[in-house]
Symmetry: D2
């Protein structure tokens, strides 16, 4: 009897998830003869009646390589340890989840997700003996252990395209243009897109900004005859005055202020005289077809995940380190978040090419 | 002595302005031997000391075909009849404008702009005898007399790309996604992008929407197993309750509510239970390289403008009617705004393919 | 009992075919309650055992709007009047085709195709009483009666993108670069892409080129310090010396010479000293997602085709004339091919902006 | 007196060269106060009268980040040790090159190029004491020492886009489609694009292919109902029968056969019955705006090159290793070419997802 392996996707979607699924199924089914079952909506498909399980064979992989999103769906009912009830409470349905897997004859699960989802997978293994292999997924690229996550460069490309477009219109109008990009905690997208798109100012959560410095940069540009300024702002960027807030208070501050771009515009209101305009890319950044790099990376991770399962490397996850695909303990990945290093090379490069980071 | 013709761009920029400039200069300089002077920042270049005038020869056209924005710049000091003063007032500097043209030996001006700029040009001709030829420009495609304006299809492409990306991520998450696109008075961009991008709901200024109908469409989709809904909303779209407002009150309402998408989300708040997310494309739509159609249209108009000047067709403007470039009186263009016809074919087509327009 | 209508796609594929299918099915099924049957591989699906017929309902339309190609397939066994036999001959299976339609209860067929396919449809109607409605399809835009066909602007965009890329590399290297694009008989794609992409020379079938003129243009550019030259060449362009050949001889000449770009390079070999390079885009131009304009046009045509069937307008086809969708007799469309007018406005515009057309 | 540093670009152009120039100038001029002189056409600008030298200041950097090609130009007169004479011979003008640099007060040169250009730079340093810092440049990504070179992922994206387009049209027509991509010696572009674009067969120079295996793959696909096959072929790929040829004989074989795609089609001619079509992307792959990753990488290398010069690290070159920018001896880079490892992970991944590599 063939091995039967489950596969699930949790948390926000990222371009490349379907490419991982495709690669996993192709390698597992063609080369190993396994059965692969897709679990719908993270682990939630195991807790429904009837269960949401999709047999994944070779024909079901057609067209997946270039398709954004995830054919398995994701959900905010993805944590069986804290499953939402109808009355707004939470209950633990983790044992039920493990039972469902056993009843379906699923030997183990390949879990694709960010630190939250991977931690859930790890706990299912620790608490209930569910064998799990991890595939890192975060469009924000803020997972430690892995250099790059698929979807990240796609998001950077969408944001850079927008910057390219803003340049011509900003130049024609002598305006200050804000582009708000994803990144609630980590400014990787803003920093990469800002460098790639030639932004004049980059504001990220890791470097609380001094509005006076930002205003000074805008004025300095005017003084040399460049009245247009392009500012990339991560959705989690806040001014210095909010630097001491904890995460919850920061998110509340962002919501109250109408988002990071709106807050930055308000900060500049009295400091400069200029027309200001903002664009909020939102989920456009996480949708659509993955760039080739992300498709290749996703494919490599999907193939590697099969090989880890083949040698029963449960508890491990695939990672991309120094242009190589390797395997590391899942627990290392969820240990801490990878933020932009304010003293790191990329921040240095941004400044060396004339970018102001606000501090 | 060669003829000396001025050229200026007014109002918001649109992809293709530079392509018009290039075509005009190439045809005028190569084939006619004229001199072309670019006037900076609409008519404002004529009112500065020293004057902002750029000689445009063949080498200065390099790379212009595909470049967004306008190398001549635009400004909000573009109306010499209502020129802003330092103390916030307005004065009439139109006679001064005409004098400057005469002093520079500029025989006439090719004016690229929307209804506002074209009306200014027409008045310069009527009141001060400044010979003017018009080139229609509006990214919103809301000029009567001309079927399509350059820049419009570029904006539609940017918005459609965003919709393509939203589809995959919306499907993965069971969300209601708003994409706010340009169109304060006219919903052409929203309607075209909505049809091209397969939006489920399209909200435009010309059709005040009933929030209950919008909510019903979202629920009907859920009932047939499609929990994600994509809504394109023009920045001037408002619900039925604001239908009787005049233009000024509508704009105030939009500003107060945080924009059309925010207002629509607030309207739906109590009516549906769903995660809602919005993206505001803003000026990303009007920047960047023009799509090929817009480059060709702009080139055709630029060449035609030379030929109108050559036969002293002052007071006329070029137009694109039924796949032909023709010439019409400028006054016809500024007579009324071309809005989406709620009974027109395109609205019918949208509905025939399952789109809800909210009324 | 609901009406049952067939739909088929013939000839080469074009981006937008699936969008027509989607619009037809949506409008026919939702608003009219009809049944729609897709016929596989043009009319060939009717001649197989079992027959290749696909019921098309609303769920089968998902994702079709932006998908290139045709889900119904096309074939070179598409002409039932000249059906290829196993031994390389041809037989008439048209009566059998008509019988199959009757047996399946298909009342009439919406035929999407170029002049060949439309003529076949028309003959099925004339000879066998099969009710037919036509939808024009040609990526070359060479159908009379209709101003633009879907897919054409997509092909122009692919070719223009390639030209944009060639400019930078040609400039860096002082090279003569050929881009061979589609257009065996008609040069519309080459002419449009050439204008949009700023080609220096455009060679099309309608204007046999004088190699000395082409060489002179390259040299004239060098003399003013522009050593790089970009040449767009339609796959059917030939030099003056082949101008008197008939169509068959022209195609043979093209094949023998290795294609239009190779022939042009050979013609220039002795006339200029320069590194020459060629790119042959081939089918890349006809694949992929349609540009928004093509999706909208295809959607409009699909909806209109339903309405023609609804009023039993058999023998008519939809057409796009002067930004309006109209209906014309199929026979008008197949009467003659729409070629580039060497005296037309677009050729004039190309020359007015400095393009050499070789004669 | 400020330091005066030269900068030059040699060999074929690659997207990102201008971004390196921009980053180098910005960091050198703003932060160090140096003078930067661009040398035109590799080293050739030093050997002309008047010399081709361009002062590069901050304004000259505008728009360079996203512009393809190189503003400094390249040439086939780039080797001063083997400088071509009018009569077709070669002479050594290296001493003259070094003298010119001294006369211009240029302290050292940042040389951007592939192994050929870097070797020339190294020899100028060894033989004539010209201080040199290297920046690796090859669109083929075949330089050892550095993991990725800028321009490579741009080329992969162009090729992948073409594959995405070919899929839809191939599926509609049941055809075998060849896409010939760059890579005379190294198959990196073909392998990456093939994986990213879901090619069915990938043919690269490092793995001479068995035509019978290729034909068998096409037939196997037909047998499971997939009559369309997409083949990516590197321009240097040859069948097994040519495996023993040396480089020169291989290039001659390719030329004689009309290129790698034409040869592969000829090999399959008798082995399969299928319509075959080919597209040759050519220089389209090396032109145009760099993808964001390449812009960032180029910017990082340009900044790092300044810092190497600042510490007088002559003889070193910047490299990208394991997501870090480091410095290595130039001589290491030119020691051997980095080819696709037929036993490597990426070839394994291609096969694991169903790709045939022909051996």
């Amino acid at each position: 009897m063939p091995r039967r392996i489950g596969i699930s996707t949790g948390g926000g979607d990222a371009p490349g998830l379907n490419a991982v699924i495709r690669a996993f199924v192709k390698h597992a089914v063609r080369d190993r003869g396994w059965e692969v079952l897709g679990i719908e909506d993270s682990f939630d498909g195991l807790l429904r009646k009837p269960r949401g399980l999709v047999p994944l064979d070779l024909p079901s992989c057609r067209g997946l390589l270039s398709r954004g999103g995830t054919i398995l769906g994701t959900t905010n009912r993805g944590d069986p340890f804290m499953y939402p009830t109808a009355d707004g409470g939470k209950i633990d349905r983790s044992a039920e989840t493990a039972t469902a897997l056993r009843e379906e004859g699923i030997e183990g699960v390949v879990v694709m997700g960010g630190d939250g989802t991977l931690a859930i997978g790890l706990r299912l293994m620790t608490d209930h003996g569910v064998p799990v292999v991890g595939v890192p997924k975060t469009i924000d690229n803020d997972l430690s252990v892995t250099d790059l996550t698929f979807g990240f460069l796609t998001a950077v490309e969408v944001a850079t395209d927008a910057l390219d477009r803003l340049h011509t219109t900003a130049d024609s109008h002598d305006r200050v243009m804000f582009l708000e990009v994803m990144g609630r905690d980590a400014g990787h997208i803003a920093l990469h897109a800002g460098i790639a798109g030639g932004a004049d100012i980059i504001l990220i959560p890791e470097i609380p900004y001094d509005p006076d410095r930002v205003a000074a940069k805008i004025k300095a540009r005017r003084d040399v005859g460049r009245p247009a300024t392009i500012i990339v702002v991560a959705e989690g960027a806040l001014p210095l005055e909010s630097a001491s807030l904890d995460r919850k208070a920061r998110l509340a501050r962002l919501k109250r202020g109408g988002g990071a771009a709106a807050i930055a515009m308000a900060q500049l209101e009295g400091r400069i005289e200029a027309e200001m305009r903002s664009c909020v890319l939102g989920h456009v950044q996480r949708g659509g077809t993955p760039v080739p790099f992300d498709r290749i990376l996703a494919t490599r991770l999907g193939v590697a995940a099969v090989d880890i399962v083949a040698r029963d490397g449960w508890g491990e996850m695939v990672a991309y380190v120094g242009d190589r695909v390797v395997s590391v303990p899942i627990r290392d990945a969820v240990a801490h978040q990878k933020l932009v290093d304010p003293q790191g090379e990329l921040v240095y490069v941004a400044r060396a090419t004339g970018c102001e980071l606000g501090a």
